[in-house]
Symmetry: C2
């Protein structure tokens, strides 16, 4: 049995080594002329400065919360062991995010330089950078989970049982640590990126009349920094959390459901095995990403993911049918179907997202056409598109639950069905190494384009980076859909873990019974339903507030720095980054506190109300996250469609109407929507970790 743990650790190590090899290959590439390098250095330093400040704030948070955990009664899964795992989870996610961002900011300038030679060359650099992020995340995440499992759960406990649910509760601290980083990176980073974007545009484009990405604008660098900290590090932390959360939740559920059965440990170790082989599958997939020309970039990326998915399913088949021996009644094919349903539905959710947000789809064309009657109809149809787009992904999630539950439900074994749902989530996330790579490639291509513009490179360079960027926009939208889908299944797995564990702590037969007719559960549902709306309102306002601090700073620099407009005075980009950093982190305190304090406060009143609250937040949160992400993506591409010449083209009244929609969509898709992923997962992790306080 332990051999599989060591093999999983080996696969995690392979991922980390693969990331390092890719990184050094990127660094060896030509970084272009001194102008390019100078601009790139500012972005690199800015992004590093943001993350350093973020981590400083985070350190305070980790110390306080870690201290609370350490001082709590260790009998029930809190105490020093959990605190150590918590700190390690925060560090691992932080390192992955920092390294991914570090790579991305270095890869962008090299992508620009490579684009001077050829498109294929440029794609290679940008995609490699994404893969560094993807592999760092899965490598460090799996390494952490395996490490703490070896330390805490593999040794026999007092009753001679290995991998007991109680021991795994300590491992969950690692997941909570990752969640904390996700909160700061995704919410704080999301506010930063849009505050910088909006602030730079408002003063630069509107007041000073200089173009976007103009080096004279002190906010331009901050805007580029935002892409890296929000879309690279933030997205990475979000999915790090999902990856770790789904694996540990599945382990806990396996340990609960099959507690007294022979071969129980194989169900605890299965998610680790699936994740480990998923890493190898992802690496295989990367070798199939090769584009001859512009028309094949998108299909090359999709092909890589498809190969990886097939390889992952084959790997899972070997694990389920050959390697592991499961408890009686649990046939391997059942688990395989659950895993494969997760993997496949993850891809399908991406396809649906592509339909609703892609420039070729009817919805985006419709929004673009509606811009002809003004901003209001553009907005109305964008909102309607976002709301409508909720149906298909949620139906797919429901289908995944239905299939994986029913196929794994075994007569007489309570919790076998929910184990199936949880392992489906692991299946969906198993190829994260490459799917996150495809996603994180987008901002690198975007930054490469900005660099080409700022460094005034020849037109064909910009055209090549634009081709990469256009595909990057779609993969980013798909990545958001995937992130929401996996967050939903992860939260669901953690929710089941909460109910199982609460049932045990409260000495109930089976798991916590959350009857909706129980008024506490109903009140919890309503309270939970409020949270995604409140959280979205707060994060949208936060962008506005942080942006206005940015506006004041840029105005001050234009006023006070002599020669800034004719290029003889150098704008103080670092100060803009600092203002935006402090502003965004300050603005995230209230929503962050709500996400942590709300479940604890309600849990103190009643674990039943808390269960209802988690379910209410989960249901409303998924809907709102999809609504906001897809509305924002659709508005963005509707604007791009008009810019490409449709409905009057750039500069027309129709374009102006579409710009309004895009501006509304910015905080929707890049701040509030993705932040809801964190909300639903973090609340559930908090509920499971602090459960001993509630009983």
């Amino acid at each position: 049995m332990d051999s599989s743990l060591y093999l999983a650790a080996a696969c995690a190590a392979v991922a980390i080594v693969f990331a390092l090899v890719k990184f050094s290959a990127i660094i060896k590439k030509d970084a272009g002329d001194s102008t390019m390098q100078d601009i790139a250095r500012q972005v690199q330093e800015g992004a590093a400065a943001f993350l350093k400040t973020e981590y400083k704030w985070l350190a305070v948070f980790v110390v306080i919360v870690g201290g609370l955990i350490a001082l709590s009664d260790a009998e029930n899964g809190l105490g020093g062991k959990t605190a150590i795992a918590f700190v390690a989870g925060a560090c691992a996610s932080g390192i992955a995010g920092y390294f991914g961002m570090h790579t991305a900011t270095r890869a962008a300038v090299r992508t620009t330089q490579a684009a001077r030679a050829s498109l294929t060359e440029a794609l290679g650099v940008a995609f490699s950078s994404g893969i560094v992020m993807g592999m760092s995340v899965v490598g460090l995440a799996l390494m952490g989970v395996v490490g703490f499992t070896l330390m805490y759960a593999a040794p026999e406990n007092a009753d001679g049982v290995r991998f007991s649910a109680d021991s795994l509760n300590h491992v969950l601290g690692f997941s909570f640590g990752a969640s904390s980083i996700a909160l700061f990176s995704r919410v704080g980073g999301g506010i930063f990126t849009k505050a910088a974007d909006v602030g730079a545009d408002l003063v630069g484009k509107v007041e000073a009349g200089i173009p976007e990405d103009d080096p004279r604008n002190p906010g331009t660098i901050a805007d580029n920094v935002g892409d890296n900290v929000g879309d690279v590090a933030g997205m990475g932390a979000d999915l790090f959390e999902s990856y770790v959360g789904s694996i540990i939740a599945t382990m806990i559920l396996g340990s609960f459901a099959f507690a007294d059965k022979e071969n129980m440990s194989s169900l605890v170790l299965l998610p680790l095995g699936v994740a480990a082989l998923g890493i190898l599958a992802s690496i295989i997939g990367t070798y199939f990403v090769k584009a001859k020309d512009e028309a094949h970039i998108s299909s090359a990326l999709h092909f890589g993911v498809t190969v990886a998915s097939i390889a992952a399913i084959v790997g899972s088949a070997v694990l389920c049918m050959v390697v592991f021996t499961f408890p009686e009644g649990v046939e391997g094919w059942r688990l395989l179907v659950a895993i494969a349903s997760g993997t496949i539905i993850g891809i399908l959710i991406g396809k649906v997202t592509e339909y609703y947000t892609g420039s070729d789809g009817k919805p985006v064309k419709n929004i673009a056409a509606q811009s002809e009657t003004g901003a209001a109809t553009n907005i109305i149809h964008g909102l309607a598109t976002g709301m409508e787009s909720v149906a298909a992904p949620v139906l797919l999630i429901a289908l995944a639950i239905f299939v994986s539950y029913n196929v794994c439900q075994i007569e007489g074994v309570d919790g076998s069905g929910v184990y199936g749902v949880a392992i489906a989530a692991v299946g969906m996330l198993s190829t994260l190494g490459i799917t996150l790579g495809v996603d994180a490639y987008g901002p690198v291509a975007d930054n490469a384009g900005g660099l080409a513009e700022m460094a005034k490179l020849p037109k064909e360079v910009r055209e090549r980076t634009d081709a990469l960027d256009a595909v990057g926009n779609t993969t980013a939208a798909i990545g958001k859909g995937f992130a929401i889908g996996s967050a939903a299944l992860t939260a669901l797995a953690l929710f089941s873990a909460y109910c199982s564990r609460a049932g045990k702590e409260l000495d109930l037969e089976g798991s916590l019974l959350l009857d909706i007719n129980n008024h506490k559960v109903m009140i919890g549902l309503l309270l939970g339903g409020i949270l995604p709306f409140l959280f979205s309102a707060l994060t949208m306002r936060a962008v506005g507030n942080a942006a206005s601090e940015m506006v004041n700073e840029i105005r001050r620099q234009f006023r006070e720095i002599p020669g800034i407009m004719d290029g003889t005075g150098k704008p103080d980009a670092a100060r803009c980054i600092k203002i935006s950093t402090d502003g965004s982190l300050k603005q995230m305190i209230l929503p962050g506190l709500i996400a942590i304090i709300a479940p604890i406060a309600v849990g103190m009143w009643s674990p039943y109300a808390l269960g209802g609250m988690l379910a209410g937040a989960l249901v409303c949160g998924i809907m709102m996250a999809i609504f906001m992400a897809n509305a924002g993506g659709a508005w963005d591409n509707a604007k791009k469609l008009i810019e490409s010449g449709a409905h009057g083209g750039k500069g027309s009244d129709y374009h102006a109407a579409a710009v309004v929609g895009d501006t509304v969509g910015d905080p929707f898709k890049d701040t509030s929507g993705p932040s809801l992923n964190i909300l639903i997962k973090l609340m559930t992790v908090v509920a499971v970790v602090f459960l001993p306080w509630f009983v």
Copy 2:
């Protein structure tokens, strides 16, 4: 016992007589000069034409559904008896809506005429018209419920039991009939009113450059018709449904919870008594609505409602403490606290709504200020305000549930707590006679202003009607908040009735156990969560589609009718009304079908999944309804604030930005948001009525 039924019928009759007396008093007023009468007649005929067409479509619907009910097995609460109650419910709600609209269209012109003399005079006419709507609704609704209770539930059944839950299930047909009218009136009417509004504005103001309410625009009359069919008849049907639904659900829950107890019937009859005394209280309240001048209109209306609420609570106290004898352990004060908590929280929800949508509040001022940076920031802050505004009303609803459940929960009596929640809903709606009156006064004042404009009356007349209208806007927003709050509690009461009844039909101990951990319940929650988003998307699109048919017709008339622009040719207003009528009814088919078929389809799969679905739709539906109604109300008043001179005033760029927000808010607050009230109630009624099909 039966005496209380006859007394309730007498109170219902008093309401109907009061409405008729008020109506004849209105009709006796001077209807102004021939120009005014001519314009008013067009609106009257247009509104009548819409309702007639609507009722024709509805008749087909009622015949098909009534036939299905009649042909179903009568043993379990369907069959002929239920079918008759269903048809009667549809007719009663239809008559109330028609009469209210009939009165409103006649009162508007008389309000205008009265405004030539004095403000007090004009307020009297407009408010009387609202009271006709309010009293018709409560009178016909209570009469219907009492009548069918006397026929179906009062006689002893085979076991010698009176007011058995089975017999009351037949009475529920009346509620389902009312729901059907509500679907057509609220959704169809909501689409009509905004399609006409947007269509008339797009061609008239934007293309032809003529002012709003210009008699040359063929869409102007349709716009005024829309106010009457949407805001008067639609709102009336919505609250008719809540009123009837909450009363019957409470009766059923009382019958279930206290099935074998002595004096059970007093708990079945209590909601009828509370409603009956609420009518008398409302009538008393109307005599306290007297405004000396402009500054006192709002306080006069609030004073009337406050007096009525106090009187209703006093009346309930008499019922609970003196008149009724309850089963052992059920002290009267417990029920009184539950009833009063509903009444008080209904008023508080109105206050919260007033804060978020009123021109004096910080949120509206903030949205107006954000218009200075363009339409996008106006939209972002409007959306954020709407999302934020969800918290307080839902917390109040949760508080109402908490108080009424706990105070009424009696050791050993399953379902006594949910009875408390249901009777709180009845308490909230008990003063509907006057609260609906205050609400329905708004569109009359609005129309009166339009008439003054079209008939080119002296400036001071328009000023007086504007003063009435301004208050009407706020009361309309408060009315929407009240409608949502009461819809939520009504749906909750019906939901409990569903669970109680399903438990019985499935031969379970106690009510249906909806454990969120049950994967069917979880899938149901997710499916239910989709519906409010899908429904909102469809209704928003419907407004767009119906509006564009309207646009084509108005363009055609401008092109083809000679002399239309110089006033020598008469626009064909009736044709515009017909186009908008047919368009809006056609557009409501898909959302309407979803609201009815979704619960039946899911119920056929599993009553557990259906229970989850109802809860999911309830939670997401309440949030979305409040979000959309308040965002729309806030945008509207932010625009009005700018028009009153703030931030550049009318015609400035800031005003243009605020107009974009207002246009987005129109379908939000008048179509999609209110339609969600219907969705959550109708789905639950369908679930209870068709339950025998699912088991």
